[in-house]
């Protein structure tokens, strides 16, 4: 069952179309990665789904509630962590969560227990009485997730939740999202630039570029659909020169340049010998920085799609 579904969802601002004919399908219980370069329309889409921006045309439903007919139902089903996480610095985290619990109609008898549980879950139990003005960015992000969960939403939408966090903070947030998905059963809709995190965490992804959904599915599906080569992924000082050398060495292998510093060697039969390949490249004056054997990553899929769109335009 799809917990988020959009049909030709479009948002036009004066002078530009931010999102055009978007058809998303997010399944119940999955962690869905929403990717796209800056200005692709991710935040606009999220704001439409959360009922903050009115779509220009098209339809959307969240947890079975139609965006136009039942906005309150949509809002009650979503826990949103926006990109800019603002706080009332004078409040304690418990007061802050209580404020939102009241706004979301959490029963007064249930609220204290729920808040205490969330504070423990996000690792802030020992800061219950501290003013939020004293919190670090990572603590604020964790509190933001607690706020998004306070009313037990079916869908949690996170817009760049790890932005500006140190690696430890990023890992905490990712683990927390996995925990929320597993323990609370919430569907996670994660918008992020961090392709490695999305690739690691998400069941399926949607890739948005210039307001259009250019692909949707698992990374493996997308890679197959795009016929991205699997094989040896080389990071080198000059991908063009490396392509010529590898081409001469393995006439039957496919050699694709991904960008000026990366190429993928796809043999027709058997793996090419890495030592011979690297020796030939080095002898030709090409610096070899990395050699990885495997299937295309989400990053490869993302770049192939976004670059493909741009060159087509």
């Amino acid at each position: 069952m799809n917990v988020i579904e959009t049909q030709d969802l479009t948002k036009v601002f004066p002078g530009r179309t931010a999102v055009a004919n978007l058809n998303l399908e997010v399944r119940e219980g999955e962690i869905y990665g929403f990717l796209g370069p800056n200005g692709a329309g991710k935040t606009t889409t999220i704001r439409m789904l959360a009922g903050i921006l009115r779509p220009t045309s098209g339809r959307a439903s969240v947890a079975g509630h139609d965006l136009r007919a039942d906005l309150d139902g949509v809002r009650a089903s979503i826990g949103l962590l926006p990109e800019s996480i603002g706080y009332y610095g004078w409040m304690t985290p418990v007061e802050y969560l209580r404020f939102f619990a009241d706004l979301y109609g959490v029963r007064p008898a249930e609220a204290p227990g729920r808040i205490a549980g969330l504070m423990k879950q996000v690792g802030l139990s020992d800061r219950q009485q501290s003013r939020m003005a004293t919190f670090s960015r990572g603590m604020r992000a964790r509190l933001g997730i607690a706020r998004a969960l306070v009313h037990r939403p079916r869908v949690v939408i996170l817009d760049e939740p790890t932005l500006g966090l140190d690696p430890l903070g990023q890992r905490d947030i990712l683990e927390l999202m996995q925990h929320v998905n597993r323990e609370e059963g919430a569907t996670i809709f994660l918008s992020s630039h961090a392709l490695d995190q999305v690739g690691h965490l998400c069941t399926r992804v949607g890739i948005l570029n210039e307001g259009h959904l250019v692909a949707q599915g698992t990374a493996a599906d997308l890679s197959r659909r795009l016929e991205l080569p699997s094989g040896l992924h080389l990071t080198v000082s000059d991908a063009g020169l490396a392509q010529q050398i590898v081409g001469r060495l393995h006439r039957d292998a496919g050699v694709a340049v991904v960008d000026p510093a990366r190429l993928v060697v796809t043999p027709t039969h058997g793996e090419p010998r890495v030592d011979a390949l690297v020796r030939a490249l080095v002898q030709a004056g090409v610096e070899v920085r990395e050699v990885v054997s495997g299937t295309p990553s989400l990053e490869d899929v993302f770049f192939a799609l976004v670059r493909g769109e741009r060159s087509a335009a």
Binding site: F13, R47, A50, G51, I52, L53, D72, R75, A76, I78, L80, P82, S84, I85, G86, Y87, Y88, W90, E95, F99, F100, D102, L103, Y104, G105, R147
Partner: protein, 250 residues
């Protein structure tokens, strides 16, 4: 219920945040100084007692409305600047509830200052027998004016991209309202001044208080002024509602 939650958040901020804790004592000190001057300064103490009552009421009103304007300016513009607006707009709260919360929060300083000020007015009006009428008119017309100022300022704040701009706009609104009250006699010299004085809500409240406290005139002579005041407040509420419904994050 949600309106109460929203306004309670503003009240708590006004009452318990460090900045909030500063303004009520400051207002009390200002009023104490004013009353002390009325009662001890040789020139001022020679003033007619009803004029003293009117001046005390005028000071309460001017300071109270200023506080209302500043708090209302912080409503949408402040939320936008703090980055708290998006989470609020995503919550299942109607725009009317949001507006109600902001208006109730903005009226709180007026109510608090009126409660603090009443004993001062009682001291100044001791022996005149006019305290109750003065207090009733001050509270009633002041509340209506405060609601109007709060509504107009929340409406303007809804389009402000920063708190600083919101407060600047609020101060311009306040200055526009206060000009006829401060320059009343000079303004009344020609038809423009008289028209300004006639429509200006703060002037209408001041003139009502002047009429009731100093001239001891009855309610029937206040009706036109009160209708003008009600029109200002009604228009403000319509304006604020229209603006809050279309409030966006950009």
């Amino acid at each position: 219920m949600k309106t109460r939650t929203l306004s309670a958040r503003i009240l708590r901020e006004l009452a318990f945040s460090p900045k909030g804790l500063a303004w009520l004592p400051a207002f009390s000190i200002l009023l104490s100084l004013l009353v002390y001057l009325f009662l001890t300064n040789v020139d001022l103490s020679l003033m007619d007692q009803k004029t003293m009552m009117f001046m005390t009421a005028q000071a309460i009103l001017l300071l109270g409305i200023l506080a209302v304007a500043v708090v209302a300016a912080d409503s949408v513009a402040g939320e936008r600047e703090r980055g708290t607006l998006e989470a609020l707009l995503a919550a299942p709260v109607t725009r009317d509830q949001l507006l109600g919360g902001y208006l109730a929060g903005a009226l709180a300083p007026w109510l608090a200052m009126a409660v603090i000020a009443l004993p001062y007015l009682a001291v100044v009006s001791a022996g005149t027998g006019g305290f109750l009428v003065s207090a009733a008119y001050l509270l009633g017309t002041g509340a209506l004016l405060a609601l109007g100022v709060a509504a107009w300022t929340v409406g303007l704040s809804a389009r402000s991209d920063s708190l600083r701009n919101g407060i600047l706009i609020a101060l311009v609104v306040y200055a526009g309202l206060a000009v006829p009250a401060v320059l009343s006699s000079a303004l009344r010299g020609n038809w423009v001044g008289r028209a300004y004085d006639f429509v200006d809500p703060l002037s209408n409240v001041m003139n009502t208080l002047d009429s009731v406290i100093i001239d001891e005139q009855g309610f029937s002579l206040q009706v036109v002024r009160l209708l003008m005041l009600a029109a200002f407040t009604g228009a403000g509420l319509l304006f604020a509602r229209r603006r809050i419904v279309t409030v966006s994050l950009s």
